[in-house]
Structure formats: C-alpha cells, structure tokens
Symmetry: C2
Subunit: 744 residues, 2 copies
C-alpha cells in the first residue's frame, strides 16, 4: 500500500531550482545526494539542467513514466501542475507548497480543488503544507530537511513539519534509524490512518511512531489502530491535551482537537501507547525496536552504585513493574562470584570497583533466573569502571536470554565512549534510571495489550423499533430533550430495568394504578412544558395508601396549574418506589471524533465533587464494562463496607452493555444520563434519566438541488443525494460552483 510513495520507480520535482537557498533546490539536492536509484526529473521551465540532470519545462515533457511527483511551486500554481501530473499518469504526489487549509476558508476551498483533481486522475496526495517524505528503504529523501537518518525499523509520521526537522536533527546525531519518515501536513488525502495501514503491512517497519494534533476520522482510526497494534507497536504523542493546549491547536491548524478524555480513552482502547513528550517517544521506540518483548513485570536491576539502584527501584511502581525476587540458587551463585560487600538481592549491587567481567557474571546469572522477566544494567563511571568493555559484555550476554535488557550508563563525557558499542549490540541506553524503567514499562504495557482477549461485543435481544418510535415522536414535535416518559420508553425498549410507571389522568385512575403497582409509590407531573418538576412542586414520594395517592394527585395538579397555567399537562405518573441502594451514574456524550463516550461512576456528590468517574468509547465488551466498575475509586463502596452486602455487579454490567448497544444503534442520541441507576443487592434499576437527540438533518444535493434526509454521499465537504449525482458532479467539474451544504 502507498507504494507510489515508499518505492517509486521515478520521481519528478516540480519547481526544482538552481538557487541553493530555494526549497526547490533543497528537495532535488536531497534526492540526488542521498542516492535515490530511480529516474529523477527536475521540472523547471527556465532551466535546461539542474544538479547535472536534464530539466524539463513541464512534467508532460519528461521522456519516461513518472510514478511520484514532488510539488514545490507557489500555492497558486499547484492546481495547474497537479492536473499535469494527472495527465502524465503520476500515481503519488507530495505537495510541499503551503497556502491551503492552514490559511483559512479560501485556502480550504483551494485544497478541495486539489482533491477533486486527484480523484479525477486517481492520484494519492501527501500534504499540502508539509516537509516532504524520507525513505531509507529506497534511499529517497524527497524533503527539504537537512540530513538523512540512517536506515532502521522505525516509521515516523508527523502532523508538524517543523517537529520533523528537530527529530531528524536528533536522529542524525544519535544514529537512530528510521525506515520511513513522513510529514503529512494538512493531510488533504493521505492521513494518519492510511499510513498506519500501509506501515502495519510494511516488513521494513517494526515500530510506528506518530506526532498527532488532531485525528481526522476517529472511528476509522480506532478500528485501524486496533488491528495494527496487534502486529506492531504504535507510539504516539497527541498534543493539545490541556485546555490551554487545545486553543493552540485550533489557532495552529484549524483542526478540531478532540477532548482530552476521548483521546486518552481511544488510545487505551486501541492499544496505542501514548508518549507524553518527544523524549519519551524516542525512549520507548528504541526499546521496542531493539529488544524482545517483556513477558512479565518482574525486573532485575544490576548496578555498580546504590543510589541510582534506588532511583530505578522507585521508578518501577509508576511504570507498573516490580522488583523481581531472585531465586535462592541465583543468590547463592551471585555470592560465589561477587565480593562479600556486594548486594546479592535485587537491586544487585556489583560495587563501585566492578570491572566488566563482574558485571557480566552478575547479569548472566540473574537473566537465567525464571523469576526475572527483564533487566536494567546501571553503570556510573567510577575510578576503575571499564566503560566500553562493560558495554561489550552486556551486548554479548543480553541476546542469549530472550529477555529484554536495557542499560543506563549515567554521565556523558566518559560514558559516551560506550554509545557505539551499545548501539551495535542493540542495547537501548538511557541517561537516567527512570527513563530506562519507563521504557521497560512500555514493553510490558504492550505485552498486556497483546494478551487481552479479543473484545466480544454482545448483542442483546432488544426492541429498536419501540425506541425509534419514542425518539421520532419527540423529533416530530421538535423536542430534542426527551421527556421523562419518552426517555424511559427508549431505555426500557433496550431491556434496561426501569420502575413500573403508568400515567394517570384522574385521581381515581391514580389510585387504581397505585393498587396495581403496589405501595409505596412516587407521583410526578408529566408535561412537555415542565422540565424541572420539583420546582413547581410536581413530585411527591412515598405515598403508602389510596388516600395519600388521592391527596397527592390533587395537590400536584393544583400546584402545576397555578405555577404554569399554560402548560400542556398530560397527567401524573404513578411509579413504583425504588428502595434506596447505591446511586450510580451512567452518562453518554457523543464525541465529535470518536463517537459515543460512555461514563460510569458513583452518583451524587461523588460525581459532582469528587469526579470519580471512568470512560470508555462504545461499543463496550463485557471486559470493558467490568473494568469500568473496578477502576473507579469508590469501587470498594460497591462491594459493601461495614457489613453491607455488595451490589449486583452482573446487573450493572448488563445495563452498561445495553446502553452501549443503544447508543451504537442510535447515532442520533447525542447525550444520555441515567442518574441515578439504583444498584441494589439483586438488581440495578434506572430511576431517572434524560436524553438529548440530534435534530433531523436535511441536506440539499449539490448536484440536483433536491432536499433529502437520508445519509448523503460525501465527496470531501460536498454532499450528494445519490452516487449518480456525485458522479455527474465530478465529471462535469462543476461541483464547487454549486451553493449549498448542510441546512440546519
């Protein structure tokens, strides 16, 4: 996939220049200098030859086929040369030129024009507004970056071209190897998802790393990433996370930053490892690319210094790892080799005067221990320390055991002599113990992800037709916040237990219903015009006999009429009173990028004051629901404290799964709160709920002009009622002159 970018037979540089300070020179120079083996065609109407290569006035004049074109001309000329690329039969185009979406509405329109040209000729585009691409597999540096990384197995994509320059500068200095290196700019066409797909199948890439600011299609990203993470690790920085950061994203790229919570949840649910900084991105990727998996979380530390050993130990807990307990035989063997003052337990202290051989004996011994899953070797440059020799010994021993080994050679002036040796031996080295441990933590986190069972999405037998009717009734009335009776109807249609509740229009009927339902009962005014029932005295609880029901009916009705004389009153609901249990809350919010985000927590002050809630994106598996319940801080309250019985966890899980099914089936539900969900010893019941649905959308076809309300055919931002109209529009190239779009 995307071979036109990663293994092209020939490359044209449109806008190639003879002036070294121009980008068009830089790109061509990089292609030539770093040894690309295919045909290279500089395109420049004013030059005959550039950098020793014959130049052509237009891509149409080149003698051979062109598979990839790199465009470096000013923005306004891009559509023209792009069309020529199409006519020439070019398959992939990297548009470095800026002046599109990032500049505002006019630029966005120009970008749409590029996309319709690309679609017409079936070309793929990377960019516009990017640094270009670098590929060490086919030795192609089609960018204006300074320098070329050494070949390696890390593929990097970045939404920020400038960050690419910094990372490249770092990579060159530290000989960090890359397979592919893509700055995708405005991602008019090729997005993070396309690159994930391509690199997921790429034999030259072992680890995928990414710098992302906003994700274009959240649901597709989730699906793709979930698949790819089962083949190779994906490590990503998502910036714009805090509220202040999000503002910067918007002003920078004009793209909508999804809420931090949704991103955090999404990454977790698709196994993407999140790095919090560029440093961490590097730290983790060198561990993944060089070392085998960490199969368990038991780590051994071998050190020639007590202090750093303690620091490493301190860092274990945060990284989700633990100090391995060495087997008795291991300790006995260490006792034979090491001097008596050494520490034979973990962290193993080989002492400050340790030479390379003592390090080697200790490391070899502990790695053979079945209680050890991985190791960190710490070295401080003391008087007698054999720095390079120790690196060599680690490199010899580590690969034998099949367990990951990382090193932490602390310092710089003297210890840097060992860097090349460590690099050749594929031992990731870190300057500080915390970073080494953090990298091992990520290896373990990835392994845990791989061992998670395939999520199984249960489908309950429900009554979607009944839910649909309730929603549509409200929409017919243009009520987007559903009344209690309607929301209850939707919830009940999905098999979520709700209290028995009926509508009474007279006090006689109320008594009759209460007799049927059983006492005590709760009574509430039902009117589409009265949203805050308590405020008008419209709720009475705990009626225990017919007389009380009759009194309550009259009282509620009197008050409602007095406070809101014009309200359309449907009657008074008579409802089974639910016993007091643990009050939970289940909420759903539709995230613009990732779809329904489900929240779970304890209700009341726990959610209001303590914000003790957890999130998952729908659809939920049983394991997801189970984990949600366990990970709130007040989980222990649900298990029962001070002799209370536990709540019925199975019922809560089922409610979560049914809610998940409901909001997956009905994308028009944009908000849903069940608050409280009363959790009892033997069941869980949705006592109060509120639901907001989206207004029906109406679209106007941008080709035939007809108004319709089914899902439209989309071409970029353009909308058509049918595939036929979309085809015609594209064919006539008339589409962007037509007015319209979504009509609110």
């Amino acid at each position: 996939m995307l071979d036109m970018f990663f293994n092209p037979q020939s490359v044209a540089v449109i806008g190639a220049s003879r002036e070294p300070e121009k980008l068009g020179y830089g790109v061509l120079h990089n292609i030539v200098q770093y040894g690309y083996q295919g045909a290279i065609y500089p395109i420049n109407p004013k030059a005959d030859e550039i950098l020793g290569l014959p130049a052509y006035p237009s891509i149409l004049d080149t003698p051979g086929d062109v598979e990839l074109a790199v465009i470096v001309v000013p923005g306004k000329f891009v559509p023209g040369v792009l069309r020529e690329c199409g006519q020439k039969g070019v398959r992939g185009v990297v548009i470095i030129s800026a002046g599109f979406r990032e500049t505002g509405t006019a630029g966005l329109k120009a970008e749409h024009e590029l996309m319709s040209i690309a679609r017409e000729y079936d070309m793929r585009i990377i960019g516009p507004n990017c640094l270009g691409i670098i590929d060490t597999v086919c030795s192609l540096n089609a960018s204006f970056a300074a320098g070329m990384p050494v070949p390696g197995e890390i593929a990097f994509m970045s939404q920020s071209g400038a960050l690419c320059t910094a990372i490249l500068d770092w990579a060159v200095a530290t000989s960090m190897g890359f397979s592919r290196f893509v700055s995708f700019g405005n991602k008019a066409d090729v997005s993070e998802v396309d690159l994930l797909q391509a690199w997921g199948e790429d034999d030259h890439t072992k680890v995928i790393i990414a710098y992302l600011e906003a994700i274009t299609d959240g649901e597709l990203f989730l699906k793709t990433a979930r698949r790819v993470t089962h083949q190779k690790p994906i490590i990503a920085i998502k910036s714009g996370t805090t509220s202040a950061g999000s503002k910067a994203v918007s002003s920078h790229t004009g793209s909508l930053a999804g809420s931090e919570q949704a991103y955090e949840t999404a990454f977790r649910q698709c196994g993407v490892i999140r790095a919090n900084s560029v440093q961490e991105l590097f730290d983790l990727s060198v561990a993944f690319v060089n070392q085998p998996p960490l199969q368990g979380n038991r780590v051994v530390i071998v050190t020639n210094a007590g202090g750093p050993g303690i620091m490493a130990t301190d860092a274990l807990e945060v990284a989700g790892l633990q100090l391995a307990s060495l087997a008795r035989e291991t300790v006995d063997t260490l006792r034979e080799y090491l001097p008596p003052a050494a520490n034979f337990y973990n962290p193993v202290d080989v002492l400050g005067d340790s030479l390379a051989d003592r390090y080697g004996q200790a490391l070899d011994t502990v790695l053979q221990d079945a209680n050890v899953d991985g190791a960190v070797v710490i070295l401080t440059p003391q008087a007698m320390t054999q720095i390079v020799e120790t690196a060599r010994v680690i490199g010899q021993i580590a690969p034998r055991c099949g367990k990951p080994v990382v090193s932490c050679f602390m310092g710089q002036e003297r210890v840097s002599e060992a860097y090349p040796t460590l690099r050749e031996a594929h031992i990731p080295n870190y300057g500080f113990p915390e970073h080494a441990i953090n990298a091992l933590g990520a290896l373990y986190q990835y392994q845990e992800w791989l061992s998670r069972p395939e999520p199984e999405i249960l489908r309950f037998k429900v009554d979607p037709e009944r839910a649909h009717r309730a929603i549509e009734t409200a929409r017919d009335d243009h009520r987007l916040t559903l009344g209690e009776m309607e929301a209850r109807e939707v919830i009940a249609a999905y098999g979520i237990p709700v209290p028995n509740s009926r509508l009474a229009e007279s006090s006689d009927q109320a008594v009759q219903l209460a007799n049927e339902i059983g006492y005590p009962v709760v009574m509430k005014i039902i009117s589409p015009d009265i949203l805050h029932k308590s405020d008008v005295g419209g709720v009475k609880v705990g009626m225990i006999n017919a007389a009380e029901v009759r009194d309550a009916f009259d009282l509620i009705m009197y008050r409602a009429r007095r406070f809101m004389p014009d309200a359309d009153i449907w009657g008074i609901s008579v409802q089974q009173m639910v016993p007091q249990g643990k009050e939970l809350i289940i909420g759903v919010n539709r995230d613009p990028q990732f779809g329904p985000l489900i929240m779970f927590g304890m209700g009341g002050i726990y959610v209001e004051v303590l914000k003790d809630v957890t999130f998952r994106l729908a659809p939920l598996s049983r394991l997801d629901a189970d984990e949600m319940i366990r990970e709130i801080r007040t989980y222990r309250l649900l298990r029962g404290v001070r002799g209370e019985p536990p709540v019925d966890f199975k019922s809560i899980i089922e409610v979560l799964l049914r809610v998940s099914q409901l909001v997956t089936d009905f994308p028009e539900i944009v908000e849903l709160d069940i608050n409280p969900l009363m959790a009892l010893e033997d069941r869980a019941m949705a006592v109060d709920m509120r639901m907001v649905v989206e207004a029906r959308k109406e679209y106007r076809c941008q080709y035939c002009g007809e108004i319709f309300d089914v899902d439209p055919i989309r071409r970029g931002k353009l909308i058509y009622c049918s595939a036929a109209c979309a085809f015609e529009a594209t064919r006539l190239e008339a589409c962007d002159n037509l007015a319209g779009g979504i009509r609110p």
Copy 2:
C-alpha cells in the same frame, strides 16, 4: 563555616600512592593536576616522593601545619591515622576509606570510635565511605573522581558517591559549573544540615542541590532548610520514595528512610524544591543559577514551529503556569514586524522561515509586555533557520528585561552548534519544550515560597498540667493506649470542645447527670479492661428522658458484667449527644525523622475508601491549617452543597492549631485520632478520640551506671546521666568498653 574543607591552607593525603591504579594515587593526582595552590603533603611510610612532591611517613612528620587531611588508607588503619591528625592539629578530615557503618554493627562501632577521636581533637569529618570533595573556588579536587567541573555557582551534595561520578561526567561534558561538590558518604559527622548551613552563607554558591537517601535529624533539617531557602533555592532528590525503593535504601545504607508522606510534607513546608530525577535536578538548577526570578506565572512562548508550541502550552498547566494574554499594543507591534501568516497571539509563531532578526523582534516585543512574566523561545532547525545567530540574539535581548528567558533548541546534530553561545549568554537551554516549561514552573514555585508570610505559630492559653496528669495516670498504670475518659481529659485540657460527659456509678446518679446535661444523651460503659465498648453492648445512644436513662444504665451494666465478669468497671458515662454534622478526622502520627505529622480529612468512607486526606508537620501556622482544609478534595462538601449551610471553618482551624500545640508540647504522644470531629454550622466538637503514648524511658548512665528517666546527655549513641559523667567518660576514653544503652 566548614572553611577547613572549602578553603584549607594545606592538605595532606594519608595513603597517597605511587601506583596509578590505586585510589591514593588518584586523589593526590587530582589535587596536583587541578591546580590547588596551598601546601600538599603526601603521606606514605614507604615512599620518599610522589608526583614530584616530598612524601612523609606520618602526618606528624610534615614540616608545616596541615589544615585538611584526606584519608585513603584501609579501614582498619583509619583510627590510628585519625588520632595522628588530631595530634597534628588538623581541623578537617575527609575519610574516603570504607568499612564502617555500611558494613554492619562492627563497622558502626568503628565509626563511633572515629567520632570520639574527632571530638577529642575538635576535628570535623566528611565521610567515611565517600568519593571526596571538589571545590572550584580554591581549585581543590580532593576526590578520586575523574575530571573536574568548571567553576560555577551550584553547590552539590550527595549521599551516593557513585552518583557523584555520573553527575561529574555529565557536568564536564556540558560545562555545567559548580562551586562545591561534596560526597558525604556515611555522614558520621558533617551531614546535609551542616552543608546547608555552610552553603547558605557561601557567597560563591547561588543554588544548592542535593541527592538524599535519608535525613539524619529531620527537625533540624526543617529548621535549617526553612532559613536557607529564604536566601537561595535548595533543590533535592529524595530517593527511596516508593515502598519498593525504601527497601533498597535500607539494604544499601542501613539508614532509616522516613515515610514518603513525611518527606513530601517536610520539603513542602521548608521550601525545598523536589526534583524527581537527576535530569530534573539539572534542568532546574541551570534555570535558577542563570536567570532572574519569575515574578508571576504568565509565560509567553515564541516559536518557529506550531507543534512544539502546542507541547509547551500543554505543559504549562502541569507546571502551575499560564499562557500570558498579550496586550493589544503588543499584538499590534508584532503584526508590524511579522509576516501575515504568523500567529500574533501567544504562542507567538514566527514561522518556519524565520531568521534571527525576526526572532529578536518578536522576543523583544513580547518581553516588554507587562502581562508577560517570562519567556520560552523554541527553535526547530528548519531549512533557513539561523541557529547560532538566533542564540546570539536571544542572549542579547533577554538580560535587558529582567524577566527569565529559557530556550528550547530542539534536535542535536545542528542545534548543538548554538550550545556554547547560549551558555555564555546564560540562557538555559532544554531539548524538549516540557523541560523548559517545567524549569520556569520551578522558578515560579520558589517565588511563591518566598512570598509566603512568615509562619506565625499561635499559642493558646491551655492547661498543660491537667493534660500531663491524665497522661501520667495512664502511664502509672502501664496503659499506653489511653481510655476514652483520659484521652478526652487531655483534649479538653487543650481547649478543644468535647461533649459534656460525666461518670455515673448508679442509675440514680445517671438520671441526675442526664438532667443536668440535658437530653438526649449517650451512655457508655467505662472500664480500662473494655476497649471495644460496642462489642459488649456497652453503648446506647439517644436516651430522651429519665426512664430511658435508668433502663439504659441497668442494661449496659448487666451486659458488661455478663460478658466480662472480671472487668474493673468504673461506671457509665452520661454524655451530651452531638447533633449530626460533617464528620471530620484529625490524626497525628509521630514520624521518626520529622516529628508529629498531622493529618486532616473527611471521616468515614472518605478517609477509608477515598483516602482524601492531607498532611502537615507540626507546629501548624494558621495559614497551614487553612490550606489543609482547602486542599482536600471534599472541601466543597464542607462549604455546603445543595443548599446546606457551610461548616464553621474558624472552629476547625482552631482545633487543628490546638492539636498542633498539644502534640508539640507532649512528645510522648505518639498517636492521636479525633474521629469524628463533628463540624457543625457554628462549632466543631471532638466526639470520639484515641491516644497512644510512649512508655516512660529508663536509661542507664554509661559512666556511673545509675538508672534515670530524665533526658539523657548523648554522645553519639552513648548515654550519660549528667554532663559531668559524659566529660569523665570521654576523658578516660573508656566509654566504648562500658555496656548498656537504652533499657526498654
């Protein structure tokens, strides 16, 4: 202070060697090589000359006075040469030799011997078991470390000698400057507190940094650090923080690691800035040493790349900083200088093609804005970026404004060219935006510390005599957990409101007392033998009249007699019933290193399940108490939710302060729990409490053998009943042959 170490007129190296692989050679070589200007005396009985200097068989043979001696002989010879140092009149001794406390009990005893020799001759000791000391002010490198840092204004102390070697290696490579550099090893004499005191007054030191594993005298550390942090910042790593890490500390140094909570609180209360890693230690210290204070928390970011600008913005919140809102005039001025595609708001994006002058114009403009307290300049090495020239421009502009400016030149290969320029201009440079922002955050944190009002410790008028009597009564009985009546007595003696409560021995008396106290009342069995009153049916609540009191008395008495026929029953307490309010908890635990650690939080499930508590070390100021209440997560509940009235904060603060006074006055109180402290609208009342006191200590004088229980005179681990005995013991040098010590 400690001038014998930091400015000695002459140095002897005892154990100086001619063999280059020996430490005794390394130390002498370092002293000679790095240009120490005083007299240098190698001491070695088997050599006439070492490194061109005449050698002497013993320090007693040296021709001139010796101010400082460095001892590198094997452990067993140390006492002998140390005594000779004393006889020679040496003032300071650095003992590099190992084989003392770190090896176990025999080593500890040997270390005590060193100390008694040192006291006899009034010498100060650094070590034993250390790397030595380095001083760039007098160009003395009296260590066996490889390399010498450049002069600078950072003083570093470390409990780990190995860590010193790593830091030195790093410092040499990056030209980070130090004034003093001390590895204090076992700190038999000179401890972190001595060094803080000395460096607090040291004109050559602007920032003190430390690596600590355990603190010797917590209360003295607090007092000293609180004073020194008002003169210059102290930044410290305290390792052994997590439970796993603490184990490593114990096995490493045999020193007792204080609980993480106590350290965290202690550092906070004395203004010590805590670094979580060596990297952070470096990052923060270069900011403090090179830049002026950050007077507010409003930061401007100037960048040539959007992505890193977002990362920096993201990092602000965590660091306690905020994005400065630029004044309108600033934005207008930027608009004049910068190209239209730039971002004129914060983060200011000067665009990827920015040359040095554009950076300069932007930086100069934003630094003049009164809404800006400090700046980060981010640079990515793009095609046209003038890396060194930009560094130069930043260095010219930054000092003019009196506000801190740090840089983040991202990358390595190309950007490292700018490092020397930035260093000369005193611009701290960071490889990653998060680190730059974190450093500014620390500058701000320190400024906030400086602006805190001097803590004012209120002393209430209380009745310590009454509290003393209650405690001693229990101690007389060998009861260390005080009974409810006694604990209440102690609490009440310190003016903390408790419910009115009286002891009744008959049902008639109980009725009479209840009539006096007022109904309803609570009644509880009172017996030193019954700790869990509820378990024997010994508590009844809510008696509302005389008849109920009479019934309750008989019932409680009957049950107590039946369940515990042998119990010594004192009677039944009749107690005023406290209305339901917010249940709080105040707890005290005596930390072995820092003294009474006071805990505050919401009681019940909030403390049990949510652990929603906060800590301070006694004594508390009013500000401390006020902050404690505000920083628990459930603070909002105390202010009242859903229309409830707020609790009486003044009363809660007063209880906290009175508890602080109590546990400060009575060090024998090792545990105290008031649970619940019932917080009401108009008062707070201690309803239940428990208290544990220390057994009385009995000592045996190690000179005269007498048993006594007043505070002993201590000499190291040795104990005397009087100064006279201590003097005699020292004089006779017989002290360590005497048996004894603390008798439990």
